[in-house]
């Protein structure tokens, strides 16, 4: 009867041997290739440092003007522009300027990286059912696996710092843009594609002249989601040495500082709302034809 009440697992020794085997193998890999990997990511690190320095070294009035201008160019809406500038003024007034700049830096670089990798990947997926079959489950894992789990190998390989933080953010934030690029291209009206074919459109002309432009609403929804998810990773990234608004939040958690946590948390929310509104209205403006306007 014993057999039915306790699951017949492998012996403790066997299991711990397996675990050790994996750990050792990975440590070996890390020792052998850690340096190469670090060298590989070095340009990225330099770029991030440069961008963060740029944001921190720029006088705050100029940053405010640039943010206002970007919000205006993106949204063409006074409400959003004024709201964005006011939000940054409040952040500065409450002493969170430097942390916000650091967060802004990593989010911008992460988003850029995700777009650069994610859109081509999404296009690949849309063109091949086999690629879709392989990539989709990987994306599922990336989205559902607890972030702490992949932090372990990332930190083992690259140590603590900006690059591992950036990778952690990207692993979590890249799935939506890949998925929605794929979806958007697959949803393009078959009749329109047939018409394009009938006029002798080459596959390349069809991709850039028809499929991608018509998939833009979905691609933009993907970019928007990617930004939102990147922001939600700020606190976790701060655990492995990324500067920014996540650091004080982490401090607040361990010391039960309610006000500190709330302030920095709300600053993250403010960033999220600004990014969201500006990118959404920009996406909509690209689709002028959908509103029937000129």
């Amino acid at each position: 009867m014993e057999f039915f009440y306790e699951f017949p697992s492998l012996g403790r020794k066997t299991i711990s041997g397996m675990k050790q085997g994996v750990d050792e193998a990975f440590k070996g890999f890390s020792r052998a290739y850690g340096q190469q990997l670090e060298d590989f990511f070095d340009p990225l690190l330099r770029f991030m440092i440069w961008f963060e320095k740029l944001l921190e070294a720029t006088p705050w009035p100029i940053v405010l003007v640039v943010i206002g201008a970007l919000a205006w160019l993106g949204s063409r809406s006074w409400k959003i522009t004024v709201g964005s500038v006011l939000a940054f003024v409040a952040i500065g007034a409450l002493g969170m300027w430097e942390d916000t700049m650091a967060t802004l830096a990593i989010i911008s670089v992460a988003t850029l990286l995700c777009i650069m990798i994610g859109i081509p990947l999404g296009i690949l997926m849309s063109r091949s059912d086999r690629a879709q079959g392989i990539i989709t489950p990987i994306l599922d894992v990336m989205q559902t696996i607890p972030s702490f789990v992949y932090l372990i190998p990332v930190v083992m390989l690259l140590g603590i710092g900006k690059v591992p933080g950036l990778l952690a953010v990207c692993i979590y934030a890249i799935p939506p843009i890949v998925r929605l690029t794929d979806l958007g291209i697959r949803l393009v009206d078959k009749d329109i594609l047939e018409a394009a074919d009938a006029f002798g459109t080459s596959p390349w002309q069809k991709l850039w002249g028809v499929q991608v432009p018509l998939a833009l609403p979905n691609i933009f929804a993907g970019i928007n989601q990617t930004i939102m998810m990147a922001l939600s990773m700020v606190v976790i990234a701060s655990m492995i040495g990324v500067k920014g608004l996540g650091v004080p939040v982490l401090k607040a958690i361990s010391n039960q500082y309610l006000a500190l946590g709330l302030m920095n948390g709300l600053a993250i929310v403010a960033l999220a709302i600004i990014f969201d509104r500006v990118s959404q209205t920009f996406g909509k403006r690209l689709q002028a034809y959908r509103q029937g306007g000129k």
Binding site: A196, A198, F199, G200, Q205, Y289, R290
Partner: protein
């Protein structure tokens, strides 16, 4: 002037399903569409269709939905691969072409108008009309010039900078027509091009097409399910049912000598007076010296002259002056009554 066929379709078969090649022999042995579906779960799209399409004429292919007519037209520019058979354009085998050659045919030789328009919603009218040229790599200023010409010709002047979504159905199809004409392709494939339009607009579009054809002399393959449209536009009409061609001929031939009850059923409500010309009735020689009437006169238009003629009889002459015979009022009335 009738010249050789521009497009030839030879023994074309198209079977939709998992293993079309395997069930092809069954179809060749005479298995029909419903039986094929029952026994093998394959759908018979085209069943041994052969058709010579004359140059510079309008060839109509007619049939009800599911008859395979839209499938047939998509074989001509190989948007659909056939299961068996041959397609020749100017004697060249379309099915033997490489991807690149095929693209060239689609760019230069054929162009197409679609039932659902198939316009690019993110491009303005001007850019839609110029699309075929842009794909060919024509320079921007040439595209503009040609696109503007065709926009003017289909009566859309002033709408160059509108998006398709801002136009009515009829106007959108004018864009579709202008886009197809802009590449100067000799062959125009029109897949139920006017079927989505309401009757008045449809009639207008038919008139535009006929007017343009008078001048351009394209080889037009026009798919429709509407007999009135087929009779009005078609120099030649082919009728499809269940993927097979059941009759081919001119409008009067279809109306006066329907190949079977199915077609007779189709044609019985047609206003014959608007379709049949005197040529179809006059066949009894040239020995008449009374007043004459042109052979191309529609029966409806012949009633009054005949009623006023002595003996209610007139000689019928071809445009070259040759007399082909006589008609009487009774003959015409009988023909009208069917």
């Amino acid at each position: 002037m009738m010249s050789g066929p521009k497009v030839q379709i030879k023994n074309l078969y198209k079977i939709f399903g998992k293993t079309p090649q395997k069930v092809l022999p069954l179809v060749k042995n005479g298995l029909g569409k419903p039986e094929l579906l029952d026994q093998t779960n394959h759908v018979l799209g085209i069943n041994n269709v052969s058709l010579d399409i004359p140059e510079k004429r309008i060839q109509v292919v007619m049939g009800l939905s599911g008859s395979g007519k839209s499938t047939l037209i998509r074989h001509i520019n190989r948007l659909i691969e056939p299961t068996d058979g041959q397609i020749l354009i100017d004697g060249e085998d379309v099915l033997a072409m490489s991807e690149r050659q095929l693209r060239d045919v689609r760019r230069k030789k054929t162009s197409m108008v679609f039932q659902k328009f198939g316009l690019l919603p993110h491009r303005k009218v001007m850019e839609n009309v110029g699309y075929g040229l842009e794909v060919q790599g024509v320079g921007a200023s040439d595209i503009r010039k040609k696109a503007q010409h065709w926009i003017d010709r289909v009566g859309l002047t002033g709408y160059e900078n509108h998006y398709p979504g801002q136009l009515s159905g009829g106007m959108q199809q004018r864009v579709g027509l202008a886009r197809a004409l802009a590449t100067d392709a000799e062959i125009l494939l029109m897949d139920e091009a006017f079927s989505a339009l309401d009757p008045l607009i449809r009639y207008d579009m038919q008139s535009i097409l006929l007017e343009l054809q008078d001048e351009l002399h394209k080889t037009i393959i026009f798919i429709t399910h509407d007999l009135d449209e087929a009779l009005r536009l078609g120099d030649k009409i082919a009728i499809l049912r269940d993927g097979a061609m059941i009759q081919e001929g001119t409008a009067p031939q279809i109306v006066l000598q329907p190949a079977d009850d199915y077609i007779a059923d189709f044609t019985k409500d047609i206003n014959r007076g608007k379709v049949i010309r005197l040529r179809a009735l006059a066949a009894n020689g040239s020995g008449y010296d009374g007043a004459t009437i042109p052979a191309g006169t529609l029966l409806n238009d012949a009633l009054q002259p005949l009623a006023q003629a002595p003996d209610q009889t007139l000689g019928v002459t071809e445009p070259d002056g040759r007399m082909v015979g006589t008609v009487t009022l009774t003959q015409v009335i009988n023909a009208l009554a069917g």
